[in-house]
C-alpha cells in the first residue's frame, strides 16, 4: 500500500457515510486519575466509530505540571500537542496517499510558548514543493485536531451529575515552553517525542484497527482528550493539596469527530472536534469539604487548565514549512531538544 496507508479503506468510509451519515460520528473518551499516593495517569476508554466499538487499552503515566520539570513522564500539554501534530501529519500523508504522493518522511514540531503556538513541518521525498504546499493547505482546512487548535471549540464541564455552564472562557498563560516533535513512520503510525529534559519515553500514535491502523497506540483525537483529562485532573490535585486536602480525582473527557469533515465526504461537515466535555467525578475522601467548596475548586481547576484553553480558544497558528532544499533531512531518531 502506498505509504502503507490503506487508501481503499478510507475511500470505503467516504461512501459509507454518504449513504449513512450516522456512521460519521466518531466518539472518543479519555479518563484521568490524580491520586496523592499514585500520581497522575490517563487511560483511553472505548471509542465508537459510527456503530462500531473499538475497545483498546492504553495508559500513560503523566507528569504533574505543578512539579516543574517532570520526572520521566510527559506533561498533559505534551499529550495534547502530540494529538494535534500527529493528526496533522496523518492528514498530510493520508491526503497525499489519495493523490498518489509518495513520502520518504514527514515530521512536525509543535511548540507552545507562553500560550502561543508555533509549528515547523519537514517533508521528505516529494519532488514538487507545490504538491507539499497544497497538501499543507488542505491539512490546515481538514485536520480535525489542527482545526480544534485554530478554532473556538466550546468545552463543557460537569461535576458529578451536574453541568457547570460557562466555565471555559478563561485565558491561561502558563509562562513556559512545551514542545513535541512528531515523526510519521508508516501508514497511521507515528512517534512523538516530548521535547525537554526528563519528559519520558516517546509516545506511540496509531489509528485503531477498525480504522486501518494496527492498535499500536492511542489515536490523535484520544491524545488530545487525554491531555485535557489529565490536565484538569492535575489542576484539581494541585488545588486540593494547596487547601490541605489529599483527594483522588477522576476526570473523564469526551469528544466527537465528524469524520465527514476530514474526508470531505460532506462539505458542510464540521472539521474540528465537537461536543467536547469534561466530567469530574466527586472525589473520594472529601467529607471535610462542602459541595460548594468542591464545585468552586472544580471550576477553578478547569479555568486554569492550559489544555482546556488550547481547545476552547481560537489560535492563529499556521503550518510553517520550508521547501525541501532548505530543510535538513530529519534524523530517524530525533534527539531530545
Amino acid at each position: 500500500m502506498r505509504n502503507s496507508f490503506n487508501t481503499a479503506g478510507f475511500s470505503e468510509v467516504v461512501h459509507e457515510i454518504r449513504n449513512d451519515p450516522a456512521e460519521a460520528d466518531f466518539w472518543y473518551t479519555a479518563k484521568a486519575r490524580s491520586s496523592p499516593s499514585r500520581g497522575l495517569s490517563v487511560d483511553i476508554g472505548p471509542a465508537l466509530f459510527g456503530t462500531i466499538k473499538s475497545a483498546r487499552s492504553f495508559r500513560v503515566e503523566v507528569g504533574d505540571p505543578a512539579d516543574g520539570p517532570c520526572a520521566d513522564a510527559p506533561l498533559p500539554l505534551h499529550l495534547a500537542l502530540t494529538g494535534i501534530a500527529s493528526c496533522a501529519l496523518t492528514t498530510l500523508v493520508g491526503g497525499g496517499s489519495s493523490q498518489n504522493v509518495v513520502f520518504d518522511s514527514a515530521d512536525m514540531e509543535l511548540t507552545c510558548r507562553d500560550g502561543a503556538y508555533e509549528t515547523r513541518v519537514a517533508v521528505g521525498g516529494v519532488p514538487e514543493d507545490k504538491v507539499v504546499a497544497d497538501l499543507l493547505d488542505q491539512v490546515e482546512q481538514f485536520s480535525p485536531n489542527y482545526r480544534t487548535l485554530t478554532q473556538h471549540v466550546p468545552v463543557a464541564l460537569g461535576f458529578g451529575s451536574r453541568p457547570l455552564p460557562g466555565a471555559d472562557g478563561a485565558e491561561v498563560a502558563a509562562g513556559r515552553t512545551v514542545a513535541c516533535r512528531v515523526r510519521w513512520i508508516s501508514g497511521t503510525q507515528l512517534l512523538s517525542r516530548p521535547l525537554g529534559e526528563g519528559c519520558g519515553p516517546d509516545l506511540r500514535v496509531d489509528a485503531p484497527k477498525q480504522l486501518t491502523g494496527v492498535d499500536w497506540g492511542p489515536n490523535p483525537q484520544e491524545y488530545l482528550l487525554m491531555g485535557l483529562a489529565a490536565d484538569v485532573a492535575a489542576q484539581l490535585g494541585r488545588l486540593s493539596r494547596a487547601d490541605g486536602r489529599y483527594l483522588t480525582w477522576e476526570v473523564s473527557a469526551t469528544g466527537r469527530e465528524d469524520i465527514g469533515g476530514l474526508l470531505q465526504a460532506d462539505p458542510a461537515a464540521v472539521v474540528h472536534l465537537q461536543d467536547v466535555a469534561c466530567a469530574v467525578a466527586p472525589p473520594r475522601g472529601a467529607k471535610a469539604a462542602s459541595e460548594s467548596e468542591l464545585t468552586e475548586l472544580v471550576r477553578t481547576a478547569f479555568a486554569h487548565s492550559e489544555v482546556r484553553d488550547l481547545i476552547s480558544r481560537a489560535r492563529s497558528a499556521g503550518l510553517a514549512w520550508q521547501p525541501q532544499a532548505d530543510t535538513p533531512v530529519p534524523s530517524q531518531e530525533p534527539g531530545c531538544a
Binding site: 487508501t7 472505548p46 456503530t51 466499538k53 491526503g95
Partner: protein
C-alpha cells in the same frame, strides 16, 4: 482474458488516479468478491435454487456448467495486481491463493446467498473461521461474552488464548438473557453464541441477544453450524456475522475440513485479512468439494430434520431412555422458543441412556448403522458420547453444571431411512450386550 473479467466486480470502478482528496476516491464496499463470470442470483430466490446455482463460475472458454477447480497457488501479475497492492484491494484480484482464488469465490458466493448476505469467506476449518473472526473483530483491551457450553474448540480458544491476547471473556448460560445483559461492560465488543448448542441442543434466543448486542454497541457473531441457513438465517434476526464449521452440514459428506464466515464486507474484509495472516486458506480442491456438497444442502437438511425429529419422538417414550434433548420434544428448556425463527432443528438429537456411561458405551457397541465417531452433519449417522470426547476436559462437576449427565449420547442423524435408524436404536436399547459387534 482481459483484466476486467479477471478482477472482482467493483474493482475497476474503485480505481482512481485523479483524486485530490479522500472525497474524490471512488471505491465503495460492494458484494463478493465475485467476477462477472460468477453467477450471482437474487437473494429472494429459494434456497434450493441458490444452493444449486449461486456462485457457479461460468467458464467463458469451455462453457463448463460446473465451476472449474482453479488448482493453482499463484496467478499472473498484471496492472490490476499492482493497483491492488498499491491501494490495499488485494482481496479483489486473483494474485495468490492464500489471498483469494475463483474456486473460493464460487463457494463463498453460494454460502453468502444462502445466508442472505452479500459477502462470505471460506477458511481451512471452522476453528480457523472462528479464530479469525474473534481476533479481527476485537481489540486487546476488549471484552467478549460467550456460552460456558460453547463448542469445545471455541471454548478452548476463548478460555486459553484470549487472556494472553488481552481480551477478557465472560461465560454465561446462552439461554439466560438476564445473565447476558448483566455481563455487558463498556468495553464489551463481541457476543459469540451458537444457534443450537452442542450437545444439549439449547436454543438461545438469537433475536433477543441481537437486541442486547445492539444496545451495547457490540457485534453479535453466531455460529450457525448446527442449523445451517436452511433452518435459520441469523443475519435476518439481527446478527452481524455468521460462522460455520463447513466440515459439517455445509460440506455434508464427512470428506472435507472447512470453515465459513458470512456478513457485510465491512467486517468480512477485516476477517479475510486476519485469516490470511493466520494462514487459514481453503485449498481450491476442497472449495470444489464444498461447493458440490452445498448443492444438495436443502435436500439433505430436510432429511436430517425429519430423521432427528422421528428419532427424538420415538426415544421420548422409550423405557430405557432417561431424557431426550430436542426442540421438537419441548420441555422447560424450550418454553420461550421463538419457533417462527426456525424452519427445522437439524439432525442432532441427544439422549441419556438409563444406566449411565457404561450402559451408553454398551449401547453404542450394539448399534449397526451409525458409525461411532465424532463430528456431525454428514449423510451418514454418527454417534458419540460427549463425556469421553468433546467435553472430556471438563471436570465431572463442570459437566453436571452444564447438564451433561452420565449416559448422555449425541446422535447425529444422517439421511438414511428413519425406519432403519429407529429399528437399529430399538435393537441396541433392548438387546443384551454382545461384545465385538462394533
Amino acid at each position: 482474458m482481459t483484466k476486467e473479467t479477471r478482477t472482482a466486480i467493483g474493482f475497476e470502478e474503485g480505481r482512481s488516479s485523479e483524486a485530490k482528496w479522500f472525497n474524490d476516491l471512488t471505491r465503495s464496499r460492494f458484494a463478493g468478491p465475485v467476477t462477472p463470470h460468477h453467477r450471482v442470483l437474487s437473494r429472494s430466490v429459494s434456497p434450493e435454487t441458490l444452493a444449486v446455482h449461486a456462485g457457479t463460475y461460468e467458464d467463458p472458454v469451455t462453457g463448463a456448467v460446473g465451476t472449474p477447480v482453479f488448482q493453482t497457488s499463484t496467478f499472473l501479475l498484471d496492472e490490476a495486481s499492482y493497483t491492488a497492492f498499491s491501494d490495499g484491494t488485494s482481496r479483489d484480484v486473483p494474485i495468490y491463493t492464500r489471498y483469494g482464488n475463483p474456486s473460493q469465490w464460487s463457494v463463498q458466493e453460494k454460502i453468502a446467498a444462502l445466508e442472505g448476505s452479500r459477502s462470505a469467506l471460506v477458511t481451512s476449518s471452522g476453528m480457523s473461521a472462528i479464530a479469525s473472526t474473534v481476533y479481527a473483530l476485537t481489540n486487546a483491551g476488549s471484552h467478549i461474552i460467550s456460552a460456558y457450553d460453547a463448542y469445545g474448540g471455541t471454548y478452548n480458544l476463548l478460555r486459553e488464548d484470549m487472556p494472553s491476547a488481552g481480551r477478557e471473556v465472560t461465560f454465561v448460560d446462552p439461554t439466560d438473557l438476564a445473565a447476558i445483559e448483566a455481563a455487558v461492560r463498556p468495553e464489551t465488543q463481541l457476543l459469540l453464541f451458537e444457534t443450537l448448542t452442542n450437545p444439549l441442543l439449547k436454543a438461545p434466543a438469537i433475536r433477543r441477544i441481537a437486541e442486547i448486542a445492539k444496545r451495547a454497541n457490540a457485534l453479535l457473531v453466531v455460529d450457525n453450524t448446527f442449523l445451517t441457513p436452511v433452518n435459520m438465517r441469523p443475519l435476518d434476526l439481527g446478527a452481524d456475522v455468521v460462522v460455520h464449521s463447513a466440515t459439517k452440514y455445509l460440506g455434508g459428506h464427512s470428506d472435507l475440513t472447512a470453515g465459513a464466515v458470512v456478513g457485510r464486507r465491512k467486517f468480512l474484509d477485516r476477517i479475510w485479512a486476519q485469516a490470511l495472516r493466520f494462514g487459514g486458506t481453503l485449498e481450491p480442491l476442497t472449495a470444489f468439494l464444498l461447493e458440490r456438497g452445498l448443492k444438495t444442502l436443502p435436500l439433505r437438511m430436510r432429511a436430517h430434520n425429519e430423521n432427528a425429529r422421528e428419532i427424538a419422538r420415538h426415544l421420548a417414550g422409550h423405557p430405557e431412555i432417561v431424557a431426550v434433548h430436542h426442540p421438537e420434544i419441548g420441555g422447560g428448556r424450550y418454553a420461550d422458543l421463538e419457533s417462527a425463527d426456525y424452519s427445522g432443528y437439524g439432525g442432532m438429537v441427544s439422549f441419556e441412556v438409563r444406566g449411565g456411561d457404561e450402559a451408553a458405551l454398551s449401547f453404542m457397541k450394539r448399534l449397526d448403522i451409525p458409525y461411532v465417531a465424532t463430528s456431525l452433519g454428514g449423510v451418514e449417522s454418527l454417534v458419540s458420547m460427549p463425556g469421553n470426547t468433546s467435553h472430556s476436559s471438563l471436570t465431572a462437576r463442570q459437566r453436571t453444571q452444564i447438564g451433561i449427565h452420565p449416559g448422555l449420547i449425541r446422535f447425529s442423524a444422517g439421511i438414511e431411512n428413519p425406519r432403519d435408524l429407529i429399528r437399529d436404536l430399538d435393537h441396541a436399547l433392548g438387546a443384551p450386550e454382545e461384545e465385538g459387534r462394533r
